[in-house]
Amino acid sequence: MEFYNKFMEYLEAEDKEKAVFYALNLLEENKVDILTLYTKILAPSLNNMFCKSTEKGVCIWKEHVRSSIIRTIIECAYPHVIKQRDKNGVERRNESVVVVCPQDEYHEIGARMVADFYTLHGFDTVFVGANTPKEDFVSAINIIKPKYVVISVTNYYNIVNAERAIKRIREIANYDLKIIVGGYAFRANKEIYKNIGADYLMDSFEEIEAFIKEGQK
């Protein structure tokens, strides 16, 4: 894909200015929509970072720089998300979604993308952030009363923390709340979501879309 290759060029050069402007221009000029930008350009660019073991130290540093570039793009894309939702004529539902990364989970880009995705589909979305201690957000559950809580886990060790968070949410929530988990950590552990008390595992935007549509019926 032409846009992806071009974008990767800037990203690999760690040229923040060019990369950010290139991505935002794509949206502004309506060359791509949010979904395409997220799923076809940003997500693959993050997942396709291979590290040669000899340059591990440099590699982690590069990963951080690129993550930061992509985070900036996602932040700046928010007006476009709203614009696109309105343009698509999506009705605001009176339902909210809370998106969170469990304690010690610092990989938040996926969660941000997912949050925007729910926004696109008319949800009131609350992105709580990375590394959120469970006590900090469970207290808000009964006030916000989200329909779904989405927990994003990248590092597989944090499945353990996700489980604890889910357990706490279940204790606090006084209504029927659905918990969705997703993220890189679950790729090799497809069945584990049942053990940790989640209701659904969603691995891709397509699955989320299908799920939302299912829920609308």
């Binding site: 597989y156 060790y157 499945i159 353990v160 489980e163 090799a188 552990n189 053990n195 940790i196």
Partner: protein
């Protein structure tokens, strides 16, 4: 690759009058050459599992296979031999013999096997000490070394007989974070270079999250079993 350790329906009950069951029908197996961590709260039974895998403890019921051979029915002497040849132990409290130097400590598992260490084995012990970064203090008495140095010596000692399996119980339990990272790097390095299977009990998430597989033990059962 095959399973180098297999536990089948392991139950462990301590005490005869007041029975205290610590393991319930545990089934676990570990593939050769993998780096695994076991986590769980204290008292969850994770150490008991490790001790049963290490043939230091016997299950009340169930079968234990080490490198394809059933060990829960072996005699004490046969078990000693299995431990000597197939398993290396690394404990939280390094457990070196303080009366001996680092190099002598590393050689002890070989001496248990053979009584006398030929030159090439001594050389190998020196190489192992080099691998764990201790060639400078190899002639220090064990009680003249820092905690991190002692633990690295223990790792070299665990490796001298080329075991298939290294069982480590909180190897970084009382080390600072810098030593912890060094110990992890050494263990991972050995895992990759020599293909030794590692099973590491740890509270330290830095070690756990870098393992190929995390097994969480809770109340004597395998609660979660996740892979990277």
């Amino acid at each position: 690759m095959g399973n180098v350790i297999e536990l089948k329906n392991i139950n462990k009950i301590y005490g005869t009058i007041i029975k205290n069951q610590v393991l319930y029908d545990v089934n676990l197996s570990f593939k050769e050459g993998t780096f695994n961590s076991i986590i769980g709260a204290s008292g969850s039974g994770k150490s008991t599992i490790l001790n049963i895998m290490g043939t230091l403890d016997k299950p009340t019921s169930g079968e234990v296979y080490i490198d394809g051979k059933r060990t829960d029915l072996m005699t004490k002497n046969e078990l000693a031999e299995v431990r000597n040849k197939k398993i290396g132990f690394i404990f939280q409290f390094h457990y070196l013999l303080p009366e001996f130097t680092a190099l002598e400590n590393v050689l002890i598992p070989y001496l248990i096997k053979d009584g006398k260490a030929p030159k090439e084995v001594v050389k190998r012990a020196e190489e192992l000490l080099d691998l764990v970064g201790l060639s400078k203090v190899k002639n220090n008495r064990a009680n003249n070394m820092s905690g991190g140095q002692q633990q690295r010596t223990a790792i070299a000692r665990a490796l001298i007989n080329n075991p298939k399996i290294i069982l480590a119980d909180e190897p970084t339990g009382n080390l600072d974070s810098e030593s912890t990272d060094a110990i992890y790097d050494i263990m991972r390095d050995i895992n990759e270079k020599l293909g030794t299977t590692f099973i590491v009990i740890t509270h330290d998430r830095r070690i756990a999250e870098r393992a190929d597989r995390i097994v969480e033990i809770n109340d004597g059962k395998v609660h979660m079993d996740i892979v990277r």
